[in-house]
């Protein structure tokens, strides 16, 4: 049985302009204390035609995860428009949230995403080169597609002779390059007086 169950994913800031960051509020429950972090990814499918245009918008480690119910907000920058085929910019595509533990994907949550112009004029006569500033992104939050995979939760412990429980194909190594570098590599100083809005001075 999976040690981590995703209980809910709330799509925040939706619909929103195309350039806004994605925000998912994820609630999950963990049956036992996890010694390792969970890794969450948001993958934006640039084109339905080919996986080549998939962009990993961001990946985060989530931990430590003790037994219990937890929530966090996963925010990731909007996709790099330069990597989206122009013909696929407008219309329906897919955003995926995946979670891996020890490198094994155990859940994949897919959302349909509809990108369209809000301006009726543009909608009628879309420009040949997509105008991303005018596009609105609408994630069809009510209808997530959830796929769960059986994985080995105990790492390489001896009790797993039963190979049936190991997900045979957790190959998600294809995407790792497009992590946005705009964030500051802020080092956490041990002197920490966080007044509520100290982040403002960034």
């Amino acid at each position: 049985m999976a040690k981590v169950q995703v209980l809910n994913v709330a799509v925040l800031d939706n619909p929103s302009p195309f350039g806004n960051p994605f925000q998912f509020e994820i609630t999950f429950e963990c049956m036992e204390d996890l010694p390792e972090d969970l890794e969450w990814k948001i993958i934006y499918v640039g084109s339905a035609e080919s996986e080549e245009y998939d962009q990993t918008l961001d990946s985060v480690l989530v931990g430590p995860v003790p037994a219990g119910r937890h929530m966090f907000v996963f925010q990731a920058d909007a996709p790099n428009t330069g990597l989206i085929p122009e013909s696929d910019a407008v219309g329906v595509t897919v955003a995926l949230i995946t979670c891996t533990y020890n490198g094994q994907e155990f859940i994949r949550i897919g959302y349909y995403v509809n990108n369209e112009y809000t301006d009726p004029e543009l909608r009628e006569n879309p420009p040949i080169k997509p105008d991303y500033t005018q596009l609105q992104r609408n994630i069809l939050a009510s209808n997530p597609r959830v796929t769960r995979f059986h994985i080995n939760w105990d790492g390489c412990s001896d009790k797993m002779e039963d190979s049936e429980n190991v997900d045979p194909s957790p190959n998600s190594s294809s995407s790792s390059s497009m992590v946005p570098s705009s964030c500051l590599a802020g080092k956490a100083l041990p002197v920490g007086l966080l007044s509520g809005n100290s982040m403002d001075c960034l």
Partner: protein, 915 residues
Amino acid sequence: MKLLKPSWVSHNGKPIFSVDIHPDGTKFATGGQGEDSGKVVIWNMAPVLREEDEKNVNIPKMLCQMDNHLACVNCVRWSNTGLYLASGGDDKLVMVWKRAAFIGPSTVFGSSSKLANVEQWRCVTILRNHTGDVMDVAWSPHDVWLASCSVDNTIVIWNARKFPEIVASLKGHTGLVKGLTWDPVGKYIASQADDHSLKVWRTMDWQQETNITKPFNECGGTTHVLRLSWSPDGQYLVSAHAMNNSGPTAQIIERDGWKTNMDFVGHRKAVTVVKFNPKIFKKKQRNGSSPKPSCPYCCCAVGSKDRSLSVWLTSLKRPLVVIHDLFDKSIMDISWTLNGLGILVCSMDGTVAYLNFSQDELGDPLNEDEKNAIHQNIYGKSLAITTEAQLSTTIIENPEMLKYQQERQRAEQANHRMTHEAQAHKLTSVVNGESLEDIRKNLLKKQVETRTADGRRRITPLCIAQLDTGPFSSSSLNGSNLLLTTSTKMEPMKALDSRFTERSKVMPGVTISMFNVCLESPFYLTGYVRVFSSNYKVGTFYQGHFLFLLSPTAHLQATPSSEKEPCCVVAIPVAVLKLPTPTPQKAFTLQVSTEPPVYLEVENDVSAVSGAKLSQLRCSREGREWDTLLPSRVITAAGSSDVVAVACEDRMLSVFSACGRRLLPAILLPAPMSALHCAGFYVMALTACATLSVWDVQKQSAVVKNESLQTILSGTECTVSQSLLTQQGVPVIGLSNGKSYCFNSSLETWNLIADKQDSLVQCADFKNCISSQDAPVSQGPLALTQGHNLNAGRLASRLSSTPHHLQHGMTLVFLENQLASALTLRSSTEYHYWLLIYARFLVTEGSDYRLRELCKDLLGPVHKSAGSAWEPTTLVGGLRKRDLLRELLPVIGQNLRFQRLFTEYQDQLELLGNK
């Protein structure tokens, strides 16, 4: 008799190997084969018992499903208290389950809205010892032990109060052990195996009492299980598969001399399971007949490979009832309801049957008193202690039992409190006083995000509900350094409760800083929140403190002395400064450093030998752990990557190295500790009498010695709102009026470094002087102390309409203040940052003299002279003045007006460089 086969009780057609009814009769568990794993399912009993409940869609049928066993589950058994469920399977494991009470029903995300697990049962311990499939498990009377038997020919007795401790391993069988039963009196345990023997073992020394082989000699073939059973009066033991004259029987073995004279005959194939009714019965008094006392009797159900079930009364020669063709395959397990009138039977064919008897059929069950009277008669004592009243009158002869009884009483009290608290906390949507909605609104802002060493984002999730871990925390993950404080450590709730009431009496209405240890890092915060939520049982108490924790305010009470003369205006009122102190808690955990991750875990009042109470400090650092003991209760602790400091109730401060060595002799403080901080090798102590000390542990010297906060606090009504220690060992005290001071140890003065009301900040305009290349210094101590006010400065030009010359002056003063503050805080990066801005400002505004003096200052004397006090470095951070000057020169060169100054200093620097 009524019979029902609830079709909805199924493992999707897979065999069901075991069934057990919960002692409270509200649910039952089944164990068997799952899709690709073993499966344990907990079902609701109500739909089995009542047809209207079965039809009511609002009443859940399945309560919980556990797929954790890797292979087929052979046995499920509830503990006698009903708190635990033990399961054993082909994966060689025994798992013990407990209900996670604080988590409500959950839906499966992404599927239609039907409830998945109505109850959450969580594996609290995994017992690993068997080297083969576990066939049967059994809880001893009073749940003192848990026994498991396996195809590895052994029986393991586990200490059920201290899993996974093994009490004994019973070896002697030469075949697969397939059934276990405890003597209800607690003196024996019996096992039956494929080696054609039934063995009885003593619980006193775990040695074999007897070995019975005769009735099993003829046994051929094998059965999947051999579940034997002991009668509730303890007088008879009934075996599974035995043979008598080539016929399959269930052998009756008398306790008295282990005689094997009787058996239950009639099944056509091997008996797989025997189960005694937990009740002892007596004959139903019929109307009109004379109340003639009849001999009490027992009732026993026998299931067989021949797919039929027989129910026997020991008072009758023939079975009460035999039900044929109840199943398509062999019967695997039987369980009686505690009232003795219902019975659940499961089969290899994957179905379950329920039989309900009336009292007319079985007789009048004896009540507990009568049952105990029987025990009393037979054994001279009643070990089946069931009511509190009897507990007080019964003499307990076995020391083990005495220990158990005492523990049980304690547990019961704790339990009572727990359920009480749990009721108050039924809704888990409230976390420490904040509703889930509030949390969600600010989650993104509040959640702690850090970078790992390789630059990846790492989010610490907000724990919104805790799974209660139960008394056994000894799961395999115990070694990991997670921030969970198990409820065992929280045991003396009473102490905490009473402390609460005490406190509210002493200072009604005053917010008290429970923990005013400064937030060393954002991590620390979540650490606390988590400790709190695991404290949960005293949640009402903490609720009010949650917000408070987020912005810890140490309320300072300036109590004017009572002798103060009201007329005397000139006299300075003698204020007795008093800072609040943290209250010692039973246990707490905190993360003191993120790079490398260092966690501290404090557990107070760990009882040790001869009744002495010790406190334990445990530190885990990158997987390495050390611990140490302290004679007094720890009230607060702090640490950095280099040192760990703890302050105890006895006013002693102890400092340890990263590896747990004591670095300083225990320091006696003048008053109890109010706040304690560590940074680098510096330790800062703020005592309750408002004095401040800072020590350099590396140099073993005092940086600040017992400095009173009187200076910064006198004449104001304000309180200490924050305190911190910079990496350079500079203590900073923030007050509630928005002013922050640091203590300058070389000048021995308090310096103002930030003032939220400072009008200079609002008006200073240096926006033009900020180069885009400069990384904004948001993490330095100065920036953190001043907080968002800096932003105002940047926006000043847009907001203010002050005349230019005034604004120019204000900006200049502000920048110089910043420089001085950065210097006194010894924050080199911030000094560097502000120096560049200052220089740019001077250059653009054309302040010739100041600029020249600055350059001169940085360059220093060209020739070394003994009398010169000039030091090449300005700051502890290692910034060299001449390097700074070199950096400033291009800035100076930007304004043609200063070309002479530029050339002058460039030449001199070159000259010095050549030397």
